[in-house]
């Protein structure tokens, strides 16, 4: 940081089990998993179905639609990298397919966000290989 550049936001430590997920994000697609044995849908990528225990999981492209299950407005940044974003919204998004994931809600004032607000998927490029899934309020 001696060159005066702003500190970087955290990148996810990609592992062999999440490689497919983050690779899809990198090309602008959000993947869930569907269990071939029982049909359960889950986020995030695992080697096991959390309902039936089967190991037969298939990638399921998400529609990118969802609603705000809960949210908060962060007034005090977690680290220097987020300071210029304050106030920013952290939310739990209930995806149309069922699973919940965490995200920011970008591109609108925090006053417009409410539980139940419909949202759609967007991405925030954070590095050459990391494209972070984000959500915007649906107009």
């Amino acid at each position: 940081m001696s060159d005066g550049a702003s500190p970087a936001k955290p990148l996810p430590p990609v592992d062999p089990g999440s490689h497919a997920y983050w690779e899809a994000c990198n090309s602008g697609r959000l993947l869930l998993q569907r269990c071939a044995a029982c049909g359960h849908r889950q986020h995030y990528h695992r080697v096991v179905c959390t309902v039936c225990g089967a190991g037969t999981l298939e990638d399921l492209p998400a529609s990118g639609r969802g609603t705000v299950r809960s949210f908060t407005v962060i007034r005090r940044a977690v680290s220097a990298a987020f300071e210029t974003d304050v106030p920013y919204v952290v939310a739990l998004i209930e995806l149309a397919e069922g699973p919940t994931m965490m995200s920011n809600i970008i591109g609108s004032s925090h006053e417009q966000v409410a539980i139940g607000s419909p949202v759609e998927l967007d991405f925030e490029r954070r590095s050459e290989t990391i494209n972070i899934p984000q959500f915007r309020l649906l107009e």
Binding site: K9, P10, L11, P12, P13, V14, D15, S18, W22, H43, Y44, R69, S70, F71, T72, V73, I74, R75, R76, A77, V78, S79, A80, A81, F82, D85, Y88, V90, A91, L92, T100, M101, M102, S103, N104, H110, I115, R126, I132
Partner: protein, 389 residues
Amino acid sequence: MGLRGSTAIIGAFDTKVGKIPERSATALCVDAALGAIRDAGLILADVDGLVTCNSMAQPYMYHAEAVAEYLGIRPRYCATAAAGGGATFTVMYQAALAIDAGICDTVVIAMADSLRTGLSREAAMIMQSSSGHPQYETPYGATVPGYYALIAQAYLRAYGAKPEHFASVAVSGRAHAVLNPAAEMQKTITVEDVLASRLIADPLRLLDCSLVSDGGAAVVLTRADRATHQPHKPVYLLGAGEGRGHEHISQASSLIHSSARQSGERAFSMARLNPADVDFAQVYDCFTPVALIEMEDLGLCGEGEAGDFFLRGDGAPGGRLPINTHGGLLSHSHPGNPGSMFALTESVRQLRGGLGVRQVKDANVGLVHAQGGILSSHCTVVLGTEVVL
């Protein structure tokens, strides 16, 4: 037979809390351990079990072993708690099992940390927010108050609750703290004061958030037949239960209920007691809404009713069911993982009796609850005097 009443706490000790720059986290842990051993009327050589939790300010790879070495003891049973606040009582439960199984006789459980002066503010923030999932949560920049605010917002929505309900938890805890000279916060506050404090993560305000402290506390747990000829009357472990849901809040099946339901049911079942039998309770108040959810999940309040319970003053000194009689994490102290230990030592003192103005009348059954993660891992303990044994 089972675990009910087979072990008892015979020693309890708190270090000073607040800012203690002259003591390392390790020294605070040792101070707490030695204080509890002295309180029990024992010497170090009487202890054959040691349980600690790791420190953020002065971590060791194997913390309990490092503290044993520092103390110069060679315990037969040694364990480090490693799952946040909830693990505080989980390890006591496990220590009781070890004693009951004959693995050891007398265990000191000592926990301390220096979050206030042993870490920079930035380091403390990052350390604590590392509870987020590194791939699916941390990239979004939530703070610990932010994670809990997701629960708070859902609670407001589910029950039509108001920020006043959250505020009343802080007001109640502060009323207890003002009666306890050992508590960090000594100035009475009102609901208006809480609502006028600055927003940290909506809807949570500064006074909805617990303290950041240095300090430590310890207890000595021993077999019940060894507990009766010591300086203080024994406080029996009557029931303990654990419950786990998610680890990361984005994986929680519910935002307004927790596995405190299961941990509470299991603890009451072992104790052969009901929520109505409890004379006081210490719940985990890292943020005000957490206390409401726990009160409801533990069966101490009806669903959605805990806010009104606190607003009426039912949990305050002299109330129907005093809650967090030392002041809690909101007003006594919160040195991180050791935070719940002060709820435990306070419960021991309440059940021994003689606390003067802040003594809960006819206190024979106390409930202590802790959670770790983000409303993730729960442990409930029911303690009692000889009267309910």
